[in-house]
Amino acid sequence: MEMPAPDARILSRKAQVVQRLLTVLPKDAVIHEEAETRAYECDALTAYRCPPMVAVLPSNTQEVSDVLRICHQEGVPVVPRGSGTSLAGGALPTADCVILGVARLNDVLETDYDNRIIKVQSGRTNLSVTGAVEEEDFFYAPDPSSQLACAIAGNIAMNSGGAHCLKYGVTTNNLLGVTMVMMDGTVVEVGGAHLDAPGLDLLGIICGSEGQLGVVTEATLRILHKPEGARPVLMGFDDNEVAGACVADIIKAGVLPVAIEFMDRPCIEATEKFAKAGYPDCEALLIVEVEGSDAEIDEQLSVIMDIARSHNPVELRESKSPMESAAIWKGRKSAFGAMGQINDYMCLDGTIPVSQLPFVLRRIGEMSKEYGLKVGNVFHAGDGNMHPLILFDANKPGDLELCEAFGADILKLCVEVGGCLTGEHGVGIEKRDLMFDQFNPEDMEAQLKIKDVFDPQWLLNPAKVFPLSVTETRRTPIAAE
């Protein structure tokens, strides 16, 4: 993966930049010694690393504004960072950049149960947002698997999803407002505790913009009351196609499960070895979870089980207790870990129309043989967001490159059948060079023009999302004097 060469003129002014940053931040919030900047050299896409020139850790919106104003004047690129769990390299630095980490911005500013909102600083972790309202039986719905670590800032930048988004939507559907600092230091309030925008839906374009339009420092989020209960059912099939048809029938029947998770044979086998969840020996496994009171759950599950039976499952197991529910989820939750036990893996994130599931799984199986690399599939079947996990050996020369080529082919396949490159992890650097497979030059130009408005000098996270060749003329190579 190519990154732009660092600008020597910026590097030569490092001391001056640090000096100026120290005028607006406490000493411990400006990290510039080489040994220490290394802590920010990568996110969860660990194959790519590069320590930044400087990292700063502001504690409030004013400090963020001061930092951005200085970087804007100095012509220094800025890469915003939440918790660094991006799987796409969204928070990967360049050697001439300032990493702006929001980890110290982690307060709850307001909880309002009547209006069902919480206002937090953006560095707060996803799970601790729910933690702040749990006492009153409320929760924040989007639940990425990384929720213990990832920050609301990163969730907003990536428009992150989770296992329960079939019912509750993703970040953009649960975000009501942000305080954001523009690259020149201007602080803007977009949205708030009310619904809908007064004019253009600027919040809608900010969410999912991968840190390229502004630095989000505060967010107003929708919170919901917890459901009375939830219960899963597990079903096994001896054919992927049948499992796919079962998913479609459940959806058509008018029940809306909170989650429909799918695992294929390689993944089932790996998790059985690792977690011993007692999963059946079969080609495809579905976990379907519904919510409500006991009686409501019984009613929905009876509809779902009838549909499953009409597809001749090899196994149909309804949870009868919290312990059985945990057992059903155990394998699914350890799937990534189980695959990781076998080898290094790369996690893809393309989305496909649900109707294309059987075809895509078959093609991935064929490609796996062609490339000689194993793949396990575990994903959110209700919304078609696939997570193929390609196994490779990082110590074997050429294996990473082979794996990346295989991954690219899978993502192209997702686009070909009417889907997209990424359903929730974002483009970052990882899928940057595949963007032309999904967008033609005009589609892409329309997006670039939006960044031109928010960040005319292209200083915010400039080397991400779009192929470097298309952004080259826009990225400022010349630092202001």
């Binding site: 309002d112 009351h225 009171s293 939006i450």
Partner: protein, 383 residues
């Protein structure tokens, strides 16, 4: 004066490209049922999307529908109904309120981000919209999003197009995530609550696990007395159970009547959705968006002739004397006010859309200049 009626997206591209070359402003019309909304458009020529009609793809098992922008909303809703599905956001019909005629189009619904009572539970039109194709102000056809419900590839222009009132581009095709229609619906009706108590009751209902999908209050109900409405939807047994639990949880607001007759409940929510209370009534109509507990403050500050609360109190419809600018009265309450119905002279004098703070207005102007450099798409509608 000319009406352009392209029959395909490439026709549409050509039509807009020529208008761009000649710097001729265009008024974009779908069904024309909400044409009087927003500021008056300064354009002699009209571009109709009526020729871009038809459902292009519908996969009930994937909860996805794609239609050309000029497709009548009624056609989309009928196709969904045949499969027991629906647009989750319950789009409002503006015809009675605005006194307009014609067939609302799905593109018009998106261009105005039209949503109804269910919006506060399942989101607005923009939340169900998963893909758009549009032609920008230079005639370039552009796509964003697609037909899958999880997609974070590139910027989410889909959201930006929803509610842009044709000022950023002419939509040619729109895709939605849809939801199963519900088998059964009941409404809990509380009578005689003050505005403040009604909002407290609705907020308390929303703070339960019972999945209330409509919460509205009429200070003057159909029979003249205040009525507060809470809607539950789903399987019959589940609705009955939740109605019972909700009534218990809200007992201190009174004993609600439970209405389950399908025609009556549908009529009740249509009355709220389409603001029927103000249809045919003299006066201007405003739509104010605030946090729910501020709803009664809005009504009190404005002193309106008529008030309808939806979205648990967060959406306040106001009927006021002709030519009244209510915004000064709302100073200090966070949110925004849109002028929905007024005479042409009032609409020329008072901006329909709430003025934005200076730095956001600059961004908005910048975006419009990028999407429509010659300013030929619906000039005047959004200022």
């Amino acid at each position: 004066m000319m009406t352009l009626q392209p029959r395909s997206e490439s026709d549409l591209s050509e039509a807009v490209a020529s208008a761009y070359a000649a710097k001729t402003p265009l008024e974009i019309v779908g069904g024309g049922t909400r044409r009087t909304l927003g500021g008056p458009v300064q354009a002699a020529d009209t571009l109709s999307t009526a020729g871009l009609s038809g459902i292009t793809l519908y996969e009930p098992g994937a909860l996805t529908i794609v239609a050309q922008a000029g497709t009548p909303l009624a056609e989309v809703e009928a196709a969904l109904k045949a499969e027991n599905q629906r647009l989750p956001f319950e789009p409002m019909d503006h015809r009675a309120l605005l006194g307009t005629e014609g067939e609302p189009t799905i593109g018009g619904v998106v261009a105005a981000n039209v949503s109804g009572p269910r919006r506060f539970q399942v989101g607005a039109c923009r939340d169900s919209l998963i893909g758009v194709r549009y032609v920008d102000g230079q005639g370039t056809a552009i796509k964003n999003g697609g037909r899958v419900m999880k997609n974070v590839t590139g910027y989410d222009i889909v959201k930006l197009m929803a509610g842009s009132y044709g000022t950023l581009g002419v939509l040619s095709e729109v895709s939605f995530k849809v939801l199963p229609d519900t088998a059964h619906s009941s409404v809990l009706l509380f009578e005689g609550l003050s505005d403040v108590d009604a909002v407290a009751c609705m907020c308390a209902a929303m703070a339960t696990p019972y999945e209330v999908s409509g919460a509205a209050h009429l200070p003057v109900g159909m029979d003249g007395a205040p009525v507060t409405m809470l809607r539950l939807e789903g399987f019959e047994k589940s609705v009955a159970y939740r109605a019972g639990e909700l009534a218990k949880a809200l007992a201190h607001f009174g004993t609600p009547k439970v209405e389950s007759d399908p025609d009556k409940t549908a009529a009740g929510w249509r009355y709220i959705r389409d603001v029927e209370a103000f249809a045919g009534q003299p006066g201007d109509v405003w739509r104010v968006s605030v946090k729910p507990t501020d709803g009664p403050k809005v009504a009190a500050a404005v002193g309106a002739q008529g008030v309808v609360y939806d979205w648990s109190g967060g959406l306040v419809w106001l009927l006021v004397g002709e030519g009244t600018d209510i915004r000064p009265a709302l100073a200090g309450i966070a949110g925004h006010a849109t002028l929905i119905r007024a005479s042409a002279s009032t609409r020329a004098a008072i901006p329909a859309f709430h003025p934005e703070a200076a730095p956001l207005a600059k961004v908005t102007a910048g975006l419009r200049a990028q999407f429509d450099p010659a300013g030929i798409l619906n000039p005047g509608r959004m200022g």
